[in-house]
C-alpha cells in the first residue's frame, strides 16, 4: 500500500472494513483512540463503542474519506467520531453515511466532535443516503479555533423515515463558518436544529437551509445564531413544497447579546411557480422534468 494517497475509514454495520492512515494522519477506531490517547477522553465523554478517530497533524494534498454503511436488517449503530485538525492545516473531508439496501429498518446514531485548532481551514462534505424505513440521528459539534474557517455541506437527497439532525458551532475569535443543509423530504419525518455560537470578536457564521417537501414529508427546522461578541451572522432558510401532503416549518432565531454584533435572517417557503413550469414545458420538458430542473436549481447553493 506504499504511495497510496489517501487516509480513510470504512465501517459496515459494526465491523471496520478498511482503515488507513498516512504519515502525519492517524486514523483509528474510536475505542482504540480512547485507550491509546488519554487526551481524547476530554472529547469522547465516555468510552466509545464504535466510530472513527482522525487526527490530522500534517498538511496533505488529498481529502480524508470516511464511509459508514448499514447493511443488515434492524442493525443499530451507535457511533462516536472525533476529528482533530492541528494548527494551520488546510483539509478537505468527504464523509458518506448510507444504507446498502432500501428496507433494512436500521438505526444510525452518530455523535461527532470536530476540533479545528487555530488557523485551520476545513471543507467538510457530508453525504447521506438512506433506506425508506431507517432511523438516523446525528449530533455534531464543531469547535473553531482562532482564525479558522469551516465550510460544511450536508446533503441528503434520499432521506430515512426519521431523521434528527443537530449541528452546533462554537466560533472563536475571527473564525468563520458556512453551513449548507440540502435536504429532500419524502415519506419522512425530519427535525433539524442548527446553532451557531459567535463567542468571540470578529467571528462570522452563515447557515443556509434548502429544504424540499415531497409526498408525506414533515420537516421542522430550527436555525439559531447567538451573538455573544462583536460578530456577524446570517440565516437563510428556504423551503419548497411540492406536494399537498408535505409540511415544512422553518423557525429562524437570532439572539444578540452584544451591541456591536450584526445578525440577520431571511426565511421563505413557497411552491413551484406555474409560470416557470409552463416556460420549461414550452421548451419541450415534461411537467416532471421541469419540476426536477427547478428543484435542482433550488437545491444548488
Amino acid at each position: 500500500m506504499k504511495n497510496v494517497k489517501s487516509a480513510n475509514y470504512w465501517q459496515v454495520d459494526h465491523e471496520v472494513r478498511n482503515i488507513f492512515g498516512v504519515k502525519g494522519i492517524t486514523v483509528l477506531p474510536s475505542p482504540r483512540a480512547w485507550e491509546k490517547f488519554g487526551w481524547t477522553r476530554k472529547w469522547f465523554e465516555k468510552k466509545p463503542k464504535e466510530g472513527y478517530f482522525i487526527w490530522v497533524k500534517k498538511q496533505v494534498d488529498f481529502p480524508l474519506a470516511t464511509c459508514i454503511t448499514i447493511a443488515t436488517p434492524k442493525i443499530s449503530q451507535n457511533l462516536n467520531n472525533l476529528l482533530v485538525i492541528e494548527k494551520g492545516i488546510k483539509a478537505k473531508a468527504i464523509v458518506t453515511c448510507n444504507a446498502a439496501e432500501n428496507k433494512l429498518c436500521g438505526k444510525h446514531r452518530a455523535k461527532g466532535k470536530l476540533i479545528l485548532k487555530d488557523n485551520v481551514s476545513l471543507e467538510y462534505n457530508h453525504f447521506h443516503k438512506w433506506g425508506e424505513k431507517d432511523f438516523v440521528s446525528l449530533d455534531y459539534e464543531f469547535i473553531l479555533g482562532k482564525n479558522s474557517q469551516l465550510l460544511y455541506t450536508y446533503q441528503n437527497l434520499f432521506p430515512p423515515e426519521n431523521l434528527q439532525l443537530k449541528t452546533t458551532i462554537y466560533s472563536n475569535e475571527n473564525s468563520s463558518s458556512k453551513l449548507n443543509f440540502i435536504i429532500n423530504g419524502l415519506n419522512s419525518n425530519i427535525k433539524i436544529q442548527d446553532i451557531i455560537f459567535l463567542k468571540e470578536k470578529s467571528a462570522q457564521g452563515i447557515a443556509r437551509l434548502r429544504l424540499v417537501g415531497r409526498e408525506n414529508s414533515r420537516i421542522e427546522a430550527i436555525s439559531k445564531i447567538f451573538a455573544l461578541a462583536p460578530s456577524k451572522g446570517h440565516l437563510d432558510c428556504r423551503g419548497l413544497l411540492l406536494d399537498r401532503t408535505a409540511k415544512i416549518s422553518l423557525i429562524p432565531e437570532i439572539v444578540c447579546q452584544n451591541k456591536d454584533a450584526q445578525i440577520t435572517h431571511e426565511a421563505s417557503i413557497g411552491k413551484i411557480s406555474e409560470e416557470e413550469l409552463t416556460y420549461l414545458r414550452m421548451r419541450g420538458l415534461s411537467e416532471e422534468e421541469a419540476i426536477d430542473l427547478i428543484v435542482s436549481g433550488f437545491l444548488n447553493i
Partner: protein, 243 residues
C-alpha cells in the same frame, strides 16, 4: 401553393374569467413570415401563449391545427416537440439553473449547435442562471437562442424587438434570417414598432384590436403608415379592414 402549417379557427379564449380572444382566425403557411400588430392588451400575447398551450388560458370555442392535425388540447411540451416555439416577452428567472444546462436539455442538436449560436450571440450568458439579473437585451437574446435550439417549424416572437437597441436589433434580425428564415421556418412576429419589419419584411401583416384580427394585408408599410396616421382605434374604419 405552400402548405398551411398553422390554422386557427374561430378561437375564443378566457383568462381570469374575462374573454380576451373573441373569435380569432389565422393561417400561416410553411416558410411564411407574418406579423401581428396591435395596441397593448389587444390579445396578441394571449394568442401566442394559447398557440403554445399555456394552461392558464381557457379555450371556450374554436380549434387550433398544426400540419393538419388538431392540437387544441395538447400539452405545451407536445406542441414544442411538434415544432412550435415562442420567445417570451418577459421570461421568468429560474434560479440555480445555468443557461447552458437548459440549452443542453432542450436542444435537439445535442446542445452543440445552439451552444455555438449562444457563444456568437451572448457568450457571457452560458454560465449564468437563466434570466437571473439578465438585462432586457440579454433576455431577448437568450430567448432567441433557445428557440433556435428547439429546431422549430414555427416560431412566434412576442416582442423580441422591445428593449433592444438598434445594433442588437440588427444582430437579432440577422440571426433570425440565417437560422430560421433561410431554413424555411415560419414566423409570426408580434411587435409594436416597425423597425424589425424593415429587416424581416413580412409576407402578411395582421392587426389585432380588442381580441379580434381586424386587418390582414400584404404591404406592411401601408399598414404601419395608417396606424401611425390614425392610431389603432381608427384601424376599425380602415378600408383594408379584414372581412
Amino acid at each position: 401553393m405552400r402548405e398551411i402549417l398553422l390554422k386557427i379557427d374561430k378561437l375564443k379564449v378566457k383568462g381570469s374569467g374575462k374573454e380576451i380572444l373573441k373569435g380569432v382566425n389565422l393561417q400561416i403557411k410553411r416558410g411564411e413570415i407574418q406579423t401581428l400588430l396591435g395596441p397593448n392588451a389587444s390579445g396578441k400575447s394571449t394568442l401566442a401563449q394559447v398557440i403554445l398551450g399555456n394552461p392558464k388560458y381557457k379555450i371556450t370555442q374554436g380549434r387550433i391545427f398544426f400540419e393538419g392535425k388538431e392540437i387544441t388540447k395538447f400539452f405545451p411540451e407536445k406542441r414544442a416537440k411538434l415544432g412550435i416555439a415562442m420567445t417570451w416577452q418577459s421570461p421568468p428567472a429560474i434560479k440555480g439553473v445555468k443557461f447552458s444546462q437548459l440549452l443542453a436539455r432542450i436542444s435537439t442538436f445535442g446542445g452543440s449547435t445552439s451552444r455555438e449560436v449562444a457563444k456568437g450571440v451572448e457568450p457571457n450568458l452560458l454560465e449564468r442562471e437563466i434570466n437571473v439579473d439578465f438585462s432586457g437585451g440579454e433576455k431577448k437574446m437568450s430567448e432567441l437562442v433557445q428557440v433556435i435550439a428547439l429546431n422549430p417549424k414555427l416560431v412566434i416572437f412576442d416582442e423580441i424587438d422591445s428593449g433592444l437597441d438598434i445594433k442588437r436589433l440588427e444582430k437579432a434580425a440577422k440571426i433570425i434570417k440565417k437560422e430560421l428564415v433561410d431554413k424555411k421556418v415560419s414566423i409570426l412576429l408580434i411587435t409594436h414598432s416597425g423597425a424589425i419589419l424593415n429587416f424581416l419584411k413580412p409576407d402578411i401583416t395582421n392587426v389585432m384590436v380588442q381580441g379580434r384580427i381586424i386587418c390582414r394585408e400584404k404591404d406592411y408599410k401601408k399598414v404601419l403608415k395608417i396606424i401611425k396616421k390614425y392610431g389603432y382605434e381608427k384601424c376599425k374604419k380602415c378600408k383594408l379592414l379584414a372581412g
